[in-house]
Point group: C2
Chain length 382, copies 2
């Protein structure tokens, strides 16, 4: 690609480390890489959506999406402050919602965005694409990378306009403790000057395994934008339905951005989502499977004496590298794939402070998880 014919900021962004190793997998590989459930989705909402199309055709929806769906989504994810259809814009997956939030709320050349370290790389890549300054908030390995209010509040600068958080987090599985959520809301509310917005990525919200009930910042702080999705909870990664949830005025601005980027989300996909949200217990239908699967993963890791960070949520586990592999997670992940045919993701993809780890997805088939962990243990002894 000649720099003369493409956006210069785009050309500087590193390619996806997750997709890079994913694309190297063989047909025989045990795939513990990409964050995709191996469960199959419920087909009934698809059948209902086809019936709707048979009767009504497949017209545009309004830019922000179907009002009934948006109202039901607000009810599930809106927290204390976002209770109505006007608080929700339906997006092409959570990734579009993240893109909209950063591009709408931060002004290039003026504002700064804080992103979690470790964290999903798309947050800082979107900042780079948009020419928006960003800095990391580091969460400590010794603290199992738990998101802490103190660390976030200490990182604020006058130019900070947006903080990105994920809970449960990718790649760590860490869940922000309720006391930390409350402390962050208090600290941000006490800050003088214009409000700092917080983008909370809650795509793994249904998948938590901690004793404490899940607490969302959306219940505590009015300047929260929540990002949610059906991808993980309902095994619908390929449907591309996500949600941007925020105050009426912020959602109106994001919806305007959305209309310029791609007009609206798919009518069909929204009809599938509507079926699910009309009976929201469906959002939790896969939870028992994940609880069981996590137990298997933990048993297997213990059996093979793997040094792991026990995840409180999501469906990843960080495995600590040791011996000759400790210093270079990228080399380790590729060697593991080449010699033991297991796909994982190098910790380096997510940030400097996860360099010494591999991210292992345990949403794969059970036998792939147990056999994969056995092979990782074997590999780490080489």
């Amino acid at each position: 690609m000649s720099p003369a014919i493409a956006n210069s900021r785009l050309l500087k962004i590193a390619p996806s480390g997750i997709r890079a190793i994913h694309d190297r997998r063989r047909a025989t590989s045990l795939d513990l890489g990409i964050g995709e459930p191996s469960l199959k989705p419920d087909i009934a909402p698809f059948e209902a959506a086809v019936e709707w199309v048979r009767e009504h055709g497949c017209p545009y929806t309004s830019y922000a999406g179907l009002p009934e769906l948006r109202e039901l989504v607000a009810d599930v994810y809106g927290g204390k402050f976002c209770r109505a259809a006007d608080n929700v814009c339906v997006t092409n997956g959570s990734q579009e919602a993240i893109f909209l939030a950063i591009k709408t709320l931060a002004e290039p050349g003026r504002d700064e965005v804080l992103v979690p370290n470790p964290g999903y790389p798309i947050y800082h890549k979107v900042c780079e694409l948009e020419g928006i300054a960003w800095r990391s908030v580091d969460f400590a390995a010794a603290d199992a990378f738990t998101p802490r209010a103190d660390a976030i509040l200490a990182a604020l600068q006058p130019q900070t306009r947006l903080i990105v958080l994920a809970s449960p987090a990718n790649p760590t599985g860490a869940v922000m403790p309720p006391s930390e959520v409350v402390a962050l809301a208090r600290g941000l509310s006490a800050r003088p000057g214009p409000p700092v917005y917080v983008l909370v990525d809650e795509v793994y919200r249904e998948l938590t395994y901690t004793d404490e009930p899940f607490t969302s910042l959306a219940d505590e702080y009015p300047y929260t934008v929540t990002v949610a999705s059906l991808s993980k909870s309902c095994a619908l990664t390929g449907l591309r339905v996500g949600f941007f949830i925020g105050s009426t005025e912020v959602t109106a601005a994001a919806g305007r951005m959305h209309s310029l980027v791609l007009m609206s989300a798919s009518q069909f996909a929204q009809r599938v989502a509507l079926e699910i949200f009309r009976d929201p217990i469906r959002l939790r239908a896969h939870v028992p499977w994940y609880i069981d699967q996590r137990r298997t993963m933990l048993d297997s890791a213990r059996q093979h004496r793997l040094d792991i960070l026990e995840p409180g949520g999501a469906f990843y586990v960080l495995v600590r590298l040791c011996g000759r592999h400790a210093g270079d997670s990228t080399a380790a992940a590729y060697e593991l794939l080449d010699t033991h045919d297991v796909v994982t993701v190098p910790g380096a993809v997510f940030a400097s402070n996860t360099e010494g780890y591999l991210r292992v997805t345990w949403a794969a088939r059970r036998e792939a998880v147990t056999e994969g962990l056995a092979r990782i243990a074997q590999f780490l002894r080489t």
Copy 2:
């Protein structure tokens, strides 16, 4: 919306004039406004896609989309130079493809984009959102707004990097004559310096009614990016399947942009599209209906002595305003809606040189078109 909390460029962009009047319609209104077919789509591709999901689940596709679909799309829309899967990225409707083309190919603060006048307003709005300079190329009312190579070539400046064209065009229905397509390709190829790209919006490509065969710039000029979609040809506006088609390197860059904006298009929607492209005659299944519908529209316009521009393609007709309505298409369209309950779109939405017209969509039900034109004629006599 406080300017302090949103992207300042976003806040300056005018809202959609099409949606504004659309949102004012009543249940009783004859809707000749929004560009949406009243036909129902073939349901068989949806049923096939559901069977696929039942068997395989609904996983992510690769960023650019299903390879088999991309290959088939290249075969239909790729022209002479874009023959392979790598020349195609599947997008969330043609609008995302337009967004990607402008954002990928033009550098803010350096490059300039030429947009057609009259034309679909999204072209210049995306430029404004991205901070990219744009200028209009004016096509003449006396020439039925036909896109002419001379006008385009005369508008080029050293900083021009991208030209946007639509054929058949919205709102005029004008089709660029084959001789003009060839002349444009020659003129651009003869130009010294780095290549100027052309984005040709061909979402109405199947819907032409001229004697000459349709000629695409993609057959004549290698620096063409073609935007296509199933929205209009197959009455699938709400499915949100579009295509970005260009050289391998440009498509790779656009696909990278696409991956940062929203990851990938819907697996389900791509499966519906795949069914259609495996039997591409389906892309033309609605053509006989449009030919018939156009004849009805022309007969009706003649009967009511409306001054129209006979469209060579698409499904719009420009009706010239007269008498006290001639100077203000916005006032005329809203008054027409209020007094005669007919939704149209003011010509001013599309550019200065269509100020004296209303855009009338004749893809509505037949009786709505004939009755709507009768009421417009009646209104114009007031």
